[in-house]
């Protein structure tokens, strides 16, 4: 039987198109020349050193950690409420409300950024890292809810009832039984939201005012050709940490499903 050559070529081209640019990042980050072009002119780690000495970069990094960390925790808490309500309770308009929670997932970030900006300016709120957090929580809640919904759905409802039957209050049953069992989902949600927030540019750029998180800072640096290799070095570090974070999130989610007896 002959293999369909066309399809195979298509797959290879597709993967190259998808991943080659990311592969170029570390390649040029370790390249001696400050001009981003082939042929490569030798190995160096000086761009990483240059990055290391950039004080503004660290300020941006600190901003990003504050924004992404807060976003991750707040979105996961809201996602927890939403997912539990959706899986446990019957209430009017449930499908509609669940849909509303998921809506920001398909809403363009630019529209979210603009509308929040207009509202904030109208009511006179100063732009800060917290206004970025506001926008990021909005776009992260759907992801947190989706991840936690799978965690709750794979959980046998009678587990919590059994704990209540054995003398625990609803609150302590949740803490002793439900929480440990959905913990992989919670961690997975935190990691996912952190990554989304770290990555997000449009909302951060619109709502940050003078406070620049990492994404906006990197964008700004690309105006100076001499700074570009250092940004590639930073990019390399970000790619590696993203892969580790998302990998950990997925691993925990699957382990959580396996442990709760789900598929």
């Amino acid at each position: 039987m002959s293999k369909p050559v066309g399809l195979r070529t298509y797959s290879v081209l597709y993967l190259v198109f998808l991943y080659a640019p990311i592969m170029l990042l570390p390649l040029f980050a370790f390249n001696k020349s400050s001009v981003i072009a082939f042929p490569l002119s030798g190995f160096t780690t000086e761009w990483f050193a240059a990055m290391w000495e950039d004080g503004e970069l660290f300020r941006a990094l600190r901003n990003s950690l504050v924004v992404s960390g807060s976003t991750a925790v707040i979105s996961t808490v809201f996602g927890l409420f939403a997912a539990r309500a959706i899986t446990r309770y019957r209430f009017p308009l449930k499908p509609g409300l669940a849909g509303m929670i998921m809506l920001p997932m398909i809403l363009p970030n630019i529209i979210i950024a603009m509308s929040i900006l207009v509202v904030l300016l109208t009511i006179g709120v100063y732009l800060s890292l917290w206004t970025i957090v506001l926008g990021h929580v909005l776009i992260c809640i759907p992801f947190a809810t989706a991840i936690l919904l799978t965690a709750f759905r794979s959980l046998d409802k009678s587990l919590e009832e059994a704990a209540c039957d054995l003398g625990e209050t609803p609150a302590s049953a949740f803490r002793l039984i439900t929480l440990p069992l959905i913990m992989p989902g919670i961690i997975s949600s935190i990691l996912m939201c952190f990554t989304i927030s770290l990555d997000e540019f449009v909302i951060a750029y619109f709502l940050g005012g003078t406070n620049t998180p990492l994404a906006a800072y990197i964008y700004g640096q690309f105006r100076f050709p001499a700074k570009v290799p250092a940004m590639l070095a930073l990019g390399t570090i970000l790619v590696v940490s993203s892969i580790i974070l998302i990998g950990a999130a997925e691993y925990l989610r699957r382990r959580g499903l396996a442990r709760a007896g789900g598929g």
């Binding site: 046998d156 209540c164 609803p170 442990r259």
Partner: protein
């Protein structure tokens, strides 16, 4: 021990429990039997406290349980899924309910070990719950409830997930266990055989109501309604009409069986016009072989189907004059032939084994 007084439960427009009034005695093995959706699990959950009732009262040990949450009721439950906590070991599962117990850790672990021993799981303390078989999980769930020495143990279809052999073995063990601990057991099951084997008394439920409450033998011999008779065991029905009714006796004309006289104790339902049916169990008809004489009445019939079950053979036979076949069972004793389809035969029966439903 448990008193249910006119318990109603509504889910929106759905009337799940329609006025249940039942008293369950202390130390009794009580079963709620019925098809799925009849409200038996809902009723069990109202006793446990998971379902608030719409009206009526639930009393345990004389105390009204209205507003008392599950954690404060003297009843413990074995869930259908067993609800074994997957992140805890066997001993941690069994000891879970003792968290608020003031006894010392040593005394508690002794209680856990005793409970595990009682259900036949000695030396299982440190086992990972993921490695347990279905039967073992059921035992852990049982030990977890019994360690608290509840007044009432509620069992929601505890054996339905097990295979037939294991189920029959566990039935016997549960009966022994109940006699040993003397706790009131309330069992929910859809398996009529399980209910008959295990219970002191059975409440048969249909559509949110108790259709009959009786001990197993009464339930089997004197079902008070046709649907109870159909649900508990196998029962044949033949159309009949009442000719006369006087002096504690009812005279009937029954399809295939002719004119029979029944005592009023054999009659379910009050006097009424219209269709009536005579019901009887497969074992109350006997095929007569060469030279055998009927001790009471005899009818002619044709064999329409034969199902061989090893120890028993089920015959479907059409009595002369009847519009449909009825099922009878014969033990396959040594030397007795198994008849084949189409054979003419004589059937022995007795009016005393019949029951009139109207």
């Amino acid at each position: 021990m448990i008193e249910l007084q006119d318990v109603h439960k509504h889910y929106g427009n759905y009337h799940a429990l329609r006025g249940i009034t039942v008293t369950i005695e202390a130390g009794e093995f009580f079963s709620l039997l019925g098809p799925s959706g009849c409200g038996k699990t809902t009723l069990l959950r109202t006793i446990a406290g998971f379902e608030p009732i719409s009206s009526g009262a639930v009393l345990i040990d004389g105390k009204n349980m209205g507003g008392v949450p599950p954690n404060l009721r003297p009843a413990n439950m074995v869930f259908q899924s067993y609800a074994i906590f997957p992140h805890l070991s066997v001993a941690q599962n069994v000891g879970f309910g003792l968290r608020r117990d003031p006894r010392s850790p040593a005394e508690k672990s002794k209680a856990v070990a005793e409970a595990l021993e009682m259900v036949g799981l000695r030396d299982f303390n440190a086992r990972d719950t993921q490695a347990l078989s279905g039967g073992q999980r059921q035992r852990v769930a049982l030990a977890r409830a019994l360690v608290l020495k509840p007044k009432v143990l509620l069992l929601d279809e505890p054996l339905s997930a097990l295979d037939k052999k294991m189920r029959e073995q566990r039935q016997m063990e549960l009966i022994k266990l109940q006699q040993q601990v003397g706790i009131t057991f309330v069992l929910v099951t859809h398996d009529q055989e399980e209910a008959l084997v295990m219970s002191d008394r059975i409440a048969v439920m249909f559509d949110g109501e108790v259709a009959q409450l009786a001990d197993p033998e009464t339930l089997f011999r004197r079902p008070n309604a046709r649907r109870v008779a159909e649900f508990v065991g196998t029962m044949n029905f033949l159309d009949a009409h009442v000719i006369s009714e006087a002096g504690g006796r009812v005279e009937l004309d029954t399809q295939g069986l002719g004119r029979v006289m029944l005592e009023t104790s054999q009659v379910s339902g009050g006097p009424s016009q219209g269709g009536a049916a005579v019901g009887f169990r497969p074992e109350s008809l006997t095929i007569l072989f060469e030279g055998q004489v009927a001790p009471d009445r005899e009818s002619a019939a044709t064999v329409t189907d034969v199902v061989y079950h090893g120890g028993l053979t089920y015959y479907d036979v059409r009595l002369d004059g009847a519009s449909k076949s009825v099922r009878l069972s014969m033990r396959n004793v040594f030397g007795r032939p198994v008849l084949s389809t189409g054979v003419r035969t004589r059937i022995a029966w007795s009016p005393g084994s019949l029951r009139l439903f109207r």
